[in-house]
């Protein structure tokens, strides 16, 4: 019996208004569970509990990567309770509380634009596109704090190779889900929703850029951008867009959400750069979460050897 009512719903509550309104969601959840079993996935946990049903599941066959840092990892508790995810509120502690409303299955990611093989991927299909690797990366937030996070994912370039970009594809534009019902933060116009981010093609092809689906060897928690997100460790954290529903290959440089909000403060590139300050605060130092003393911020967040060549000849004070 796959489709069953959660036991806590009493008969008297069936016609309840709230139950009625939640019916659509209930159907999605149960069909997602059915689909998961049908495709050979077995998720432990509670089937009726959306979002959390998947987070915390161990990911199998994750390989180590030479691109990982050996630094001390930030505790799981901090990574999953201190988040900037404005779709679930602008307070850093609210995404952990409010993101349970996000339904991560079924989930599709439309890959489209200047490519030979456009496709709407089911997220479970997308996850299996390439072998999963653990990538322990530094994450530097534009606000001046940093973490060391063991992501699980695969290089973005694996997807790019599959969809075969045309010669017109110069940039990638990423879009987050827009659904104020699931993402209560979108009910307020803090940013121009949906959240949009972008990369230049050569940046996207860099082996460091990954699509992440897990954290600490487990399925990504909602507040960290489930079911699939971007991680570009040499850029400020906000470039690593969460809960992606669309990847579009385009000819012109996309306008990102933060660029639209404050073009003089957040540029398209937003590379970690201790020499170029945010107009309102210094970027020279950062506080690693869990440490008392601030440490010096490194050029390209310490990934200069891998990415500095991408920006040769560019004035990073202009292209900040």
């Amino acid at each position: 019996m796959l489709i069953k009512k959660p036991s806590d719903i009493k008969g008297s509550e069936i016609t309840d208004k709230e139950t009625y309104l939640n019916r659509r969601r209930f159907l999605i959840e149960t069909s997602a569970a059915a689909a998961a079993v049908a495709t050979g996935f077995v998720f432990p946990g509670h089937l009726g509990d959306s979002g959390e049903a998947h987070a915390g599941t161990k990911l199998d066959g994750v390989r180590k990567s030479p691109l990982s840092t050996g630094e001390k990892k930030t505790p799981f508790k901090d990574i999953t309770n201190y988040n900037n995810f404005y779709e679930f509120g602008t307070d850093k502690y609210s995404p952990a509380k409010k993101s349970k409303s996000l339904i991560t299955r079924p989930w599709t990611v439309a890959v489209e634009g200047e490519i030979s093989r456009p496709k709407v991927y089911d997220v479970d299909e997308l996850i299996k596109l390439s072998p999963l690797e653990e990538r322990i990366y530094r994450l530097r937030c534009v606000e001046g704090w940093s973490m060391v996070i063991p992501w699980v994912g695969y290089p973005l370039n694996a997807l790019i190779k599959v969809v075969e970009p045309t010669s017109k594809a110069k940039y990638l534009e990423f879009v987050t889900l827009y659904d104020p019902k699931q993402m209560p933060g979108q009910r307020r116009g803090v940013l121009d929703w949906p959240y949009v981010e972008g990369l230049r093609m050569d940046e996207a092809m860099n082996p460091l850029a990954i699509l992440a689906v897990g954290l600490y060897g487990e399925v990504l928690p909602n507040q960290n951008g489930a079911p699939i997100r971007l991680v570009v460790p040499w850029k400020y954290g906000f470039k690593s867009i969460k809960s992606i529903v669309r990847i579009r290959f385009v000819e012109k440089q996309p306008k990102t959400a933060w660029e639209k909000a404050a073009p003089n403060e957040y540029g398209f590139y937003s590379n970690v750069n201790p020499e170029v300050d945010h107009p309102r605060w210094s970027q020279a130092r950062e506080r690693r979460i869990g440490e008392f003393f601030k440490r010096k911020t490194l050029m390209f967040n310490g990934y200069a050897d891998h990415v500095a060549h991408l920006y040769k000849g560019m004035d990073l004070k202009i292209h900040f």
């Binding site: 930030t74 201190y82 404005y86 940013l191 909000a261 300050d277 309102r280 210094s282 130092r285 601030k294």
Partner: protein
């Protein structure tokens, strides 16, 4: 008198709750992933909160005509100063760890820190002159003029908050709206006063007072706060004239006829 002392003690303890909350959080290691940020934000928030509470005492007193409210104003103002000191110390010690160069650069280069720092500096003379002795030494009027610096400090505090947020202006704007309301009340009173003073320049000042605040109640001198007794002669005179007026709610016939003429 006994009753007011008790209220004062209770308010004093209530004002310490934000600090207690932080202290308990630090003691139980429960301040989240970025404790220094939490402490900075919380002490900053409570500084603004206490500035607004302090600024609401006078309007509240005028609206409710509960003169004894002013007895709490100094304490509330000093709590604003107390929390701004904690806020500043957090920045100097926990955030920058006495890196004088970095702090100096911040104060000069970062407008939001410049404004915040100025707001802190502006409050120092107010805290120093908050004692009864200082009020006497300065004289009520001069003391009052000096203490109008709190308006600038509060405006600076709101701007400081407004300039530091990334995108969500909601909270600083709420503080800003409350501050505008409180300062607006003063401007309205001032505007009405000048307007009325002009009109009533031919008439007795008691009529003016009555016109502004309605019929006066009889008060005995011990109900007046030490502050108001020490404050400018003008205010004291106004209060005395009210007392002398014996609380009659209807203007005398002669006044009425003068108003009509």
């Amino acid at each position: 008198m006994k009753f007011l002392t008790w209220i004062k003690v209770i308010i004093f303890l209530l004002c310490l709750i934000p600090l207690g909350h932080l202290g308990w959080g630090a003691f139980t290691n429960n301040l989240g992933a970025n404790p220094i940020e939490v402490i900075t934000r919380s002490t900053g928030k409570w500084t603004l909160m206490f500035l607004l509470i302090t600024l609401s005492v006078s309007p509240l007193r005028k609206i409710t005509r509960l003169q004894w409210l002013i007895k709490f104003r100094r304490m509330l103002g000093l709590f604003a100063f107390f929390y701004i000191c904690l806020h500043f110390t957090t920045y100097i010690w926990l955030d920058q760890f006495f890196d004088i160069m970095a702090i100096g650069k911040d104060v000069i280069k970062r407008p939001f820190i410049t404004v915040g720092f100025s707001s802190f500096v502006l409050l120092i003379p107010l805290a120093l002159t908050s004692t009864r002795g200082m009020i006497k030494r300065l004289g009520g009027r001069r003391w009052q003029q000096l203490h109008r610096l709190i308006y600038l400090s509060a405006i600076g505090g709101v701007v400081h908050f407004l300039w530091l947020v990334k995108a969500d202006l909601q909270r600083p704007l709420i503080y800003g709206a409350v501050l505008m309301l409180l300062l607006g009340f003063r401007i309205a009173v001032w505007a009405r006063l000048t307007q009325v003073v002009k009109f009533f320049s031919k008439h007795r000042p008691t009529d003016l007072r009555r016109w502004l605040w309605g019929p006066a109640r009889r008060r005995s001198p011990e109900h007046l706060s030490p502050h108001s007794r020490l404050l400018g002669r003008g205010q004291a005179r106004a209060e005395n004239s009210v007392v002398r007026d014996k609380g009659s709610s209807v203007p005398s016939r002669s006044t009425m006829s003068r108003i009509r003429s």
